[in-house]
Symmetry: C2
Amino acid sequence: MPSTDEGLALWRQVQLMHWQLSYLLHRGLVEDVGISYQDFIVLSELSVQARRVLDLARVLGLEKSRLSHHLNRMAERGLITKQPAPGDRRGALIVTTTAGRRLHRRALPGHLERVHRTFTDHVTNAEAKAIRSVTSKIRASLPP
Amino acid sequence: MPSTDEGLALWRQVQLMHWQLSYLLHRGLVEDVGISYQDFIVLSELSVQARRVLDLARVLGLEKSRLSHHLNRMAERGLITKQPAPGDRRGALIVTTTAGRRLHRRALPGHLERVHRTFTDHVTNAEAKAIRSVTSKIRASLPP
DNA sequence: CAAGATTGAGTCGTCAATCTTT
DNA sequence: AAAGATTGACGACTCAATCTTG
């Protein structure tokens, strides 16, 4: 991209869009089933498979201490539990509870609909390709 | 865009990118001149012109109470001051102090360089066009 | 010592309630 | 009553320090 000003403006556009959509998606989940966006992404990841804390932090892009605090709150609310990790007595394996799975299942359709309505619907195939290209170049340029 | 899964995955890519870049930009500012990203965007906006609180909240995309708390903290640190708004005895006009302007000026070059290096450098002109198209369609679809 | 994870204290954000001026 | 803005209580995040097992 050419000018610095254009680049900064583009970044601000992306940021503003991200903030707005994040807010809508979060509010939707709170109103539908009473869980936060962060609860939701944790439950989503765990619905695929149980995970170690740092593993979960890495795939979700959250800091470990933030996730650790968050998992404590989720555990208090009965959404997840911590089990001893097989073959490694450090740390734990995080697993969803029945209640956690139930809430996730209830939340999913509305969330998918909102992602569609607020985001995906406004993205053509060509634009999606451009966005994937950018995110993957940026990911590749960052420390793992 | 076709599939729901692809749309969700795309959104998650965007989100992850946004989180990562936000973190880097924030850390850069803290290390360079000791202000947060939020301090920086407030100072940037005010460097163009003094603003009313709600006006500032709108252009920056922040919630008014969050911004109000943040402005209090910035005022305590001497980065901004509140003046009576001309012709309207409700609320205030937010103005940068000399110290605020100085910090913003010191922070700007490094920040621009980081936006460039972490974001803009990975975006071609065609991709920038696609991103602008998407953000503007989404902005148009949202409540003002 | 490194990897996996937690903790504590201080800072910041959220939501609803409130206050004043228009 | 609406617009402009603030407050307070509570919840969540951050950073550095710590603890335990590998």
